[in-house]
């Protein structure tokens, strides 16, 4: 590694570290606009042309807010939590291959690396929850840790099937493997759906945002943070969402492969639908309760993703390769499992109505 190579990688990492906040600003703007569109209102409009400078104004305002430490907080845990939450997001960005040459480092274990680092940010959230000293923060923090840890498992299993088919753990090889044959998203539809659901739950986005939902725990662990520290939590959330969407395209929708347009255009064309889908969920789905959340993960997602891995492995071993029957097998298995299992998780003790006498209005009245 000559000096120039080191300098180039440092430069690339610097670009990534600067790009992450800007990326988050753009995503916040897009989310508020789509939410507005869903609810038939305009979203940010007056700040800058078409409201484009709205998130910039938010960022500068948050920078210049007073930074205060609550009296009951443990200073160390309180100070370091935002850093521990934000930094893993940026580390993961380093490995994601937007196009064959536009990637900072070519790790050949990048798939493992990408899913190991978000576990560190979970530690950051429990530090925030405990450090802030407020009961709501603690409650939110514990919920978020329980949720993130338990949804890590289906996330890994869903990607395991693809790793078996592609035969390698490097993201670049996975994308190259999809180059000629059909995309893994089409071959492994169940894995793709589980990946998206587990990813949403991992970063507590809408159907699973029990830990940060504002109607019960008022923002969860980030309740006691103000100004720049709170902004770091927000940046981390939006960077994680971008990572989830880009991983979705790389692993399941064949990264930069596409007939005519250059690679990075195809990459954006595939990432934005997933992002818009995530923002669309925010406007239309209520929130699951904590025990339903856990029940759904342990009783439905994990067995389902294991089943998917088994199907992928058998087809790989017998050499049939990613063909149509595999798709049918996995979808059938998923549907059968869904009918049997999900109904129990949500089953409700129905009770027959009680016969009630209909009052006869007194004749005198």
């Amino acid at each position: 590694m000559s000096l120039t190579d080191v300098l180039i990688t440092v430069l690339k990492v610097l670009v990534i570290v600067l790009a992450a906040p800007l990326l988050a600003l753009v995503l916040v703007y897009v989310e508020r606009k789509t939410l507005g569109r869903i609810q038939r209102r305009m979203g940010p409009w007056h700040v800058g042309p078409m409201g484009l400078l709205q998130t910039l104004a938010d960022a500068v305002k948050l920078l210049t807010k007073e930074v205060l430490t609550p009296e009951r907080a443990e200073p160390w845990a309180y100070w370091i939590a935002p850093i521990v939450v934000f930094v893993p997001g940026v580390f993961v960005l380093v490995v994601i291959p937007f196009t064959p040459e536009l990637v900072v480092s070519r790790l050949d274990l990048s798939l493992l690396y990408v899913f190991a680092l978000p576990a560190v940010s979970v530690v950051g959230f429990i530090m925030a929850g405990w450090g802030a000293g407020s009961k709501y923060a603690l409650l939110g923090g514990i919920r978020l840790v329980a949720q993130a840890v338990s949804y890590e498992i289906p996330l890994l299993f869903s990607v395991l099937g693809v790793a078996i088919l592609a035969g390698s753990l490097s993201l670049i090889d996975i994308v190259n493997a999809q180059g000629d044959t059909v995309w893994y998203g089409v071959v492994q539809p169940v894995a793709f759906v589980i990946f998206i659901m587990a990813g949403l739950a991992e970063h507590s986005r809408t159907p699973f945002d029990m830990a940060v939902g504002e109607s019960e725990v008022m923002g969860g662990p980030t309740i006691e943070y103000s100004g720049i520290r709170w902004a770091m939590f927000m940046l981390a959330e939006y960077v994680n969402i971008f990572i989830l969407a880009s991983l979705g395209t790389i692993i399941f929708l064949g990264g930069w492969h596409g007939p005519v347009l250059p690679g990075w255009v195809w990459y954006l064309l595939k990432t934005t639908p997933i992002l818009l889908f995530i923002f669309w969920l925010r406007g239309t789905l209520p929130r699951l309760r904590v025990d339903q959340l856990m029940g759904f993960c342990w009783k439905v997602l994990i067995p389902l993703s294991l089943l998917n891995v088994v199907v992928a492995a058998t087809f790989k071993v017998y050499g049939w390769g990613p063909t149509i029957p595999m798709v049918i097998a996995s979808v059938l298995a998923a549907y059968w499992f869904y009918r049997r299992e999900w109904r129990q998780v949500v089953a409700v003790p129905a009770r027959d109505p009680i016969p009630v006498p209909t009052p006869v209005p007194a004749a005198a009245e």
Binding site: P355, V356, P357, P359, V360, P361, A362, A364
Partner: protein, 189 residues
């Protein structure tokens, strides 16, 4: 509202409730008055718990809802009055209990065992009319703090409307100007 009640029953009328009241509440020293909107029974304070128990137990004109406990303050004859409205569960007829107690010793037995909703109504009456309900499970103030109790009594002080002439004079010396960018008290604060 027993389970085996099937079909529809004729709702009790005011007369049937009046007869029931004369039968059960008269012996407790209550005087039944019928020409009012609902059947009214005036009771001495000690008999209130037994009367409320009888009303909650009765099945023919069956009462299930205690609507409210309204306090009344009659300053000229120095008395506090509590009016209890009971109404039926599946029919609309009702019965009213009235209890008068002297102002200086407003002692009324609580009825929260038979009627759980009475708990809060009594606490509110304690706040606003300084009633004292013996045997109340949780006699803490509900709406007002300790030093502000007795707000609905007639002699409770009220804040007079501001004397506009005086206030206008007071503002007279300050030159009136449209909204100023700089707030004075911060400037020299």
């Amino acid at each position: 509202m027993a389970q085996e009640v099937a079909g529809s029953r004729p709702a009790p009328t005011k007369e049937s409730i009046a007869d029931w009241a004369r039968a059960t509440l008269e012996p407790m020293g209550g005087t039944v008055v019928v020409d009012r909107q609902f059947v009214e029974v005036e009771l001495p304070a000690e008999k209130l718990r037994a009367a409320a128990h009888a009303i909650s137990e009765s099945d023919d004109p069956e009462f299930r809802l205690l609507y409210d406990i309204s306090g009344l303050h009659w300053p000229d004859d120095g008395e506090l009055e509590a009016v209890y409205h009971f109404f039926g569960g599946w029919h609309a007829e009702g019965i009213t209990l009235r209890v008068r107690v002297p102002e200086d010793r407003p002692l009324i037995p609580t009825i929260s065992e038979d009627w759980p909703t009475a708990n809060w109504h009594e606490r509110e009456a304690m706040d606003l009319f300084l009633f004292e309900f013996e045997g109340h499970p949780y006699p803490e103030p509900l709406l007002l703090e300790k030093d502000m109790q007795g707000a609905l009594l007639k002699h409770y002080p009220q804040r007079e409307a501001p004397d506009m002439v005086e206030r206008f004079k007071q503002r007279g010396d300050v030159p009136f100007e449209i909204w100023k960018a700089v707030r004075p008290e911060i400037e020299n604060g």
